[in-house]
């Protein structure tokens, strides 16, 4: 497996780097979530896939892709 504390992944697998649009999208998404009283429970950039994952509140799960667009994990829960 990988180096325990590094942001980027392992020796065996290829590493994907985050993009500027992605970072800026995360900034916006997290701010909006925070403004609506949803605490950020978890935030992680996954370097194998190149996506950012966010848990907010009890029930919100967001994916931010490399081009800065984003989606909810599940659209059916409303």
């Amino acid at each position: 497996m990988g180096l325990a504390f590094s942001t980027y992944a392992t020796i065996e697998e290829s590493t994907i780097y985050p993009t500027a649009e992605q970072g800026l999208a995360c900034l916006r998404v997290c701010q909006i979530l925070s403004n609506y009283y949803r605490n950020i429970e978890l935030f992680r950039f996954n370097a194998q896939i190149g996506e950012v994952y966010i848990f907010a509140g009890d029930e919100l799960q967001v994916i931010v892709s490399r081009n800065g667009s984003w989606r909810f994990l599940n659209e059916t829960e409303l």
């Binding site: 949803r38 996954n46 996506e51 984003w70 989606r71 599940n74 659209e75 059916t76």
Partner: protein, 235 residues
């Protein structure tokens, strides 16, 4: 041994991810379970150009999308919190009830018919005291119930969170009770004097004072004064 993430439910997996935050595989599996798949999902457009200039329309759309979900979520959260509060309250009420029942059961606040008869002769000169004893007898010798009824009649404030109104009253009148004159009256069996002493304090009527005097006689007035914060006052 790492668990098999594909076999875990999403709920279990989420809990695992939250407690193993550097586990890339676990989080990848969790977020791979997306509905609908990427090709059919609603993707919200980027909110900044790569140089950092905001794209207002996308920001507006994003806010609206999150507001909808967070709004509903917040209502559910408030509902959940209210429900939890209600459950806690019910639990507490039940506990208090049990305490009250328990308190009455260990006999400290119940009079036998013999005891009632004895108190009747000790308090024969006071019609209000005899009324109080009638009430106690009507309630199967239960001092607490009688005291509650008398307190309500007299407009004495009852604090519901305390299991015993007699104990509560005694604490309130601790200064009057833990006085050597009063203690001696009670220990000497001069109950009418004791009742009169309490009534003279102006805080409770004769009938209720009677119940209190009987209570203190049963639990031991000196013992009461030596417990908690009170020390017997010397005149």
């Amino acid at each position: 041994m790492k668990p098999n993430f594909n076999e875990m439910s999403s709920l279990e997996l989420k809990a695992y991810v939250l407690s193993h935050r550097d586990d890339d595989e676990a989080i990848r599996v969790l977020f791979s379970r997306r509905h609908p798949p990427d090709s059919e999902a609603t993707w919200y457009g980027p909110m900044h150009t790569p140089e950092g200039l905001p794209i207002e329309e996308n920001i507006r759309i994003a806010e609206e999308a999150i507001r909808q979900r967070a709004g509903i979520g917040r209502e559910k959260q408030i509902e959940k919190d209210l429900q939890r509060e209600g459950e806690l309250e019910a639990k507490l009420s039940h506990k208090i009830e049990l305490e009250q029942v328990n308190y009455r059961k260990n006999g400290m606040t119940t009079l036998t018919s013999e005891e009632i008869a004895q108190y009747r002769s000790a308090l024969a000169d006071s019609p209000e005291s005899l009324d109080a004893l009638d009430l106690i007898e009507e309630n199967e010798g239960d001092l607490e119930i009688a005291a509650n009824l008398l307190a309500q009649e007299a407009g004495v404030v009852i604090v519901r969170s305390k299991p015993s109104i007699l104990d509560d009253l005694a604490q309130k009148l601790r200064d009057v009770i833990c006085d050597e004159v009063f203690i001696n009256d009670l220990m000497g069996g001069v109950l009418t004097a004791g009742v009169g002493y309490l009534t003279a304090s102006g805080q409770i009527p004769t009938a209720l004072a009677t119940a209190l005097v009987i209570y203190l006689t049963k639990i031991g007035v000196r013992k009461f004064c030596q417990s908690d914060d009170g020390k017997p006052k010397t005149p």
